[in-house]
Symmetry: C2
Subunit: 139 residues, 2 copies
């Protein structure tokens, strides 16, 4: 069940992403944003989890569209990887990742855990939008 306060929040997120609140999109919101902690996911995972149990079914196309809209609205962040699959993060704050080459898992690194003492000047006419560090780890 969607509790009323969250519903408002979901509708606000959808509207500001230029999406009408529909039951499919609200179900996606519920799965993505009704949480204590942020998490990482792929569209494949989202599709499985959302359509696993009874209730509104949501098509793959709708999941792709909604995730894409949330990403460009800034409610989701795409994660940089070397895999041919898109990874997303519900943590949109500036932060970094460990990437385990063995298990292929991503773990968050809090922003404060990394400090840069020197950053290059961007090319002329360009501004820095964001800076991400990926630390590849292995056994």
């Amino acid at each position: 069940m969607i509790i009323s306060d969250n519903l408002k929040m979901y509708v606000q997120k959808l509207r500001s992403s230029n999406l009408r609140p529909t039951k499919q999109r609200l179900k996606i919101c519920q799965f993505l944003f009704n949480r204590e902690k942020t998490f990482h996911f792929t569209v494949e995972i989202l599709n499985k989890k959302i359509n696993k149990n009874r209730g509104t079914k949501v098509s793959l196309a709708t999941i792709y569209n909604t995730v894409e809209a949330f990403t460009s609205a800034g409610y989701l962040k795409e994660i940089l990887t070397s895999k041919n699959k898109s990874y997303y993060d519900t943590n949109t704050k500036s932060h970094h990742h460990f990437y385990d080459e063995g298990s292929k898992e991503l773990t968050d690194i809090h922003y404060s855990q990394i400090k840069l003492s020197k950053v290059p000047i961007p090319p002329k006419g360009k501004k820095i939008k964001n800076l991400e560090v990926v630390i590849r780890i292995q056994k």
Copy 2:
């Protein structure tokens, strides 16, 4: 024409990647390593450039296999992106990138241009293999 000194270097790279030197692989080497400057590429680009003009034709499968072997041997580096396509770099030294969100182009940042004053401790039992910074830029 492959000049003799480079040929030796290519054969060495191939052998140490567990690949026999064949004319197809040598043609790939020539394109990748017969250069002043390092560069970024995708398999698609490699395929086009290599098969554009006369001479030995190389199949897509061979290109994929060779690039994969060079990558695990450490002669090429896979680049982290948010695209569903693999990007490679002939610069295998530790370095960083600007990623232009407009033009979707990658530019190298020399290692010395970024300095970290604080780096997190990796999870237990894991070692840091490498650390990459991607700076997203826009107009």
